[in-house]
Symmetry: C2
Subunit: 429 residues, 2 copies
């Protein structure tokens, strides 16, 4: 290492976890552009939610260090190279995916303030502000908390213990790659930014997938890694859109319409593989049953909760009912995947529809079993929009363990969306 690099490294007071505003998921930027155009002044609050109560984040992570990391993120702005990439790159085969007015706004953006408070063994971390601004906090906030928790565990390990830890993690990932590489027609993308072990580890995982899987590895949701490694940036839209649209609905009729309004707005902007339906926010069955006909013409469906095979069967049945050929449609699985589940779903559905996988936490953070007491195992941390213009948001999903919102509002949503009994599935990550 040359002297300048070493001196530079020592200039940092902290070792920043998030070093770029595009170290985030691609769908956040797609959604942000849409929100920036349609709802620039909607006031939204995002909040951290640790579903794994047994992981005492406030005992593991020093509040001062957490603030330093969050403050560092607030100091970031888009670099010239990043802006050039957003303006000049081809995404999903399309030039100028990001409009000049959006990139101009993004270039001048700093993330808004955060509110942090320790409550017992957990942190309350919230972000309030205009929707397009606060929504960009979600991914870096999650990445910071995951990585700080990891660092707390790594702190007490020796140099060779650390080397061996990563050696074991590499071995583990490569065994997965070896299981996948022989499977014909597989298509897998990295969706693991938010709950990754660390940025460098995610970057390693992406490179390993690339070498091991070749063209079966179709890209990464992480914009910074996509840019640095010259890969496809992957992603479409998320629950955030229907949740906020629904919270803004003035009555039950508007509420019932809200999820379709989201997709109507999306339809205006996007075509091809970006037209992916995420049907589970308020129950997949009802959503598809009441969907307008034009939605059956969309490219595919992303299955993000509930039993994934059941979800895919529902989607295939729905396409058949609407006169569409499922073999021309795309099903993306993205919920709690690991290699065996990927192989099982691929074997079951690859000949009946086009199948793709968004592999998240167990790609970029499978440190299960690698330390005593499993102290590096990933856990279920999310950061969600909890209110919009003063109204609480609600998510039902196809798994009641992933539901969120005030009880009376959950009851109202269930009534409006006709959601009956749901199967309760354990949320691993």
């Amino acid at each position: 290492m040359d002297i300048a690099t070493r001196v530079w490294n020592h200039k940092w007071k902290i070792d920043p976890i998030v070093r770029s505003l595009i170290d985030t998921d691609f769908y956040k930027l797609l959604m942000c552009q849409s929100v920036f155009r349609k709802h620039p002044n909607t006031r939204v609050t995002f909040s951290l939610i640790n579903r794994s109560r047994d992981v005492p984040l406030a005992r593991l992570i020093d509040e001062g260090e957490l603030r330093e990391q969050l403050d560092h993120i607030r100091s970031l702005s888009l670099s010239r190279g990043e802006s050039t990439w957003l303006r000049g790159n081809t995404f999903y085969g399309k030039r100028q995916m990001f409009r000049p007015d959006f990139v101009h706004w993004f270039e001048n953006l700093s993330l808004p303030p955060y509110n942090l408070e320790r409550v017992g063994d957990q942190y309350e971390l919230t972000f309030e502000g205009s929707w397009p601004e606060v929504m960009l906090w979600e991914i870096p906030a999650l990445a910071v908390l995951m990585e700080l928790r990891g660092r707390a565990v790594l702190h007490d390990m020796g140099r060779f213990e650390l080397q061996v830890l990563y050696a074991r993690a590499m071995t583990k990932l490569w065994s997965k790659v070896e299981k996948l590489r022989g499977v014909d027609g597989l298509a897998i993308a990295d969706f693991g930014t938010r709950r990754r072990h660390s940025f460098l580890w995610q970057d390693w995982c992406v490179q390993a997938m690339l070498e091991g899987l070749g063209s079966k590895f179709v890209g990464t949701s992480n914009c910074l890694i996509a840019k640095n490694r010259d890969l496809e940036a992957i992603g479409t839209n998320a629950h955030e859109l229907p949740m906020v649209y629904a919270a803004l609905a003035e009555d039950d009729a508007a509420l019932a319409r809200a999820p379709y309004d989201v997709l109507a707005d999306w339809h205006e902007e996007h075509s091809g593989n970006l037209r992916m339906i995420l049907p589970d926010t308020y129950g997949t069955e009802g959503f598809l049953a009441r969907a307008p006909d034009w939605l059956a013409g969309w490219t595919g469906i992303r299955i993000d909760s509930g039993d994934p095979a059941a979800g895919a069967e529902t989607a295939i049945r729905w396409w058949q009912d609407r006169g569409e050929d499922p073999r021309k449609k795309l099903v993306i699985f993205s919920d709690g995947l690991d290699v065996d589940k990927i192989l099982e779903l691929h074997a079951r559905f690859a000949h009946r529809t086009r199948v793709s996988f968004g592999w998240g936490t167990l790609l970029t953070n499978d440190f299960r079993g690698l330390t005593p007491e499993n102290r590096l195992a990933p856990f279920s941390l999310v950061c969600k929009a909890i209110s919009a213009d003063g109204s609480p948001t609600v998510k039902l999903s196809d798994n009641p363990n992933k539901a969120m919102g005030p009880e009376d509002e959950i009851a109202r949503y269930k009534r409006v969306f006709g959601v009956g009994k749901q199967e309760r599935l354990e949320v691993v990550v």
Copy 2:
């Protein structure tokens, strides 16, 4: 990496495997000094012997590359820092272990020419010259052949396959370290230079042992690594001395005396832990039975062939017969050790005598099972003195599979040393 380092690396026509004359076993230098004093003009021939005929070295290793590596070793001379280390360091608690006249000779040494010929799928590689010069070829020649064979296998692997290979090897070694670290009173040294996977890998193994075992790791036989890592250099003497002394014996009476002459010469020069008996060259039982009384006063015995537990029992019985307290004696095990054998021998003998382990090939080259078809597994390669002043050498050892020499000479030695039936044990490495 800075530009100068990168340019420097690209200046090399080859990537030299052995880069220093002290990248060798410590006992070679101790013996060399002894030979330099007592037998400077004895003509000796060393020869490579591949006991693993199923490893077709000449098909795996390009002759040109092998010559380049050997030529590079011939271009080496002792650096100033290396010479300073030999002159100024404390070895086994003693200052000036190496006499000024010896170091002066060593400073001006270049290794003598080699003879290389391909015969079928194997190489014939021999070194002829004065004993103190040619004896220094043994370790670098072995290291070069082992590493070139490894490189031939590694050559076709991708960048991440390589990373994962080393990740698996690290994981494997660390599991061994974890098995050993909890055992009280353990003492282990690295004896793995000659059949290491590579220099960098041996260096990594040494550092891992150091971090994992702390003071239970007592040092390394590799002088360069001992110097660079500020560790104890470990080693005493080897079969080479009795083999050459025996070959020089003029009649059967002199032959019977030869192994004790070796130790008498050693006794003059060395004390303490350097007074280690290597009794198996012509059969341990007979050697100890006929040993002069002063030898029982030596510090310990190294067990390098045959069943190690049987060898240690023989040694303990011998000490008891000669009125010595075995609990004050040292037994060093150094033959084909791996972690389970170490644990077993330690449990059996640690309370009855002082026990130490010279862990070789399966410390620094345990790549068994890490590649398809096991192409990186270590194999049994040696480089031995095969003649001295025109007479062939003979080794019997406590395992007939390790015996070497012309048949009629083996018969004569067996008669002279009274060696009866021996148990045949598989030679793994």
